[in-house]
Symmetry: C2
Subunit: 79 residues, 2 copies
Amino acid sequence: MKARVTIMLKDGVLDPQGEAIRHALAGLGHKGVDGVRQGKVIELDLTATDADAARTEVTRMCETLLANTVIEKYAVEIL
Amino acid sequence: MKARVTIMLKDGVLDPQGEAIRHALAGLGHKGVDGVRQGKVIELDLTATDADAARTEVTRMCETLLANTVIEKYAVEIL
């Protein structure tokens, strides 16, 4: 079973990497970009076969290791 | 209009960051993880109102700046 975790900075947390991308895109002539946020995506191959159990396990991974929940939000998808 | 670009290393390209995460998860007792791949997600706020035009523009951004198409693959979603 596969799971995908998407981790983004929380709204309101400054994202200098996203801002750098916005600036670079403007420099290349892409004018229609109002804002950019960059985050991480982590794809996991799991041995679990039960979707609910997998979601619980991946959520625990996010809370303990994958995300810094002070400044980041995460979303778990089971694929 | 919002767009989300997901950028992952192509299959077969070594992903040491993903491997480090897998190792750390195993160390924390998460045994049921066979493999981990890490990538980037970029969320764009666009002024475009036409979905097809937005998709074309974002694809062009990926080809010119956002992704290294030699080693990375990307997917564009219009939200």
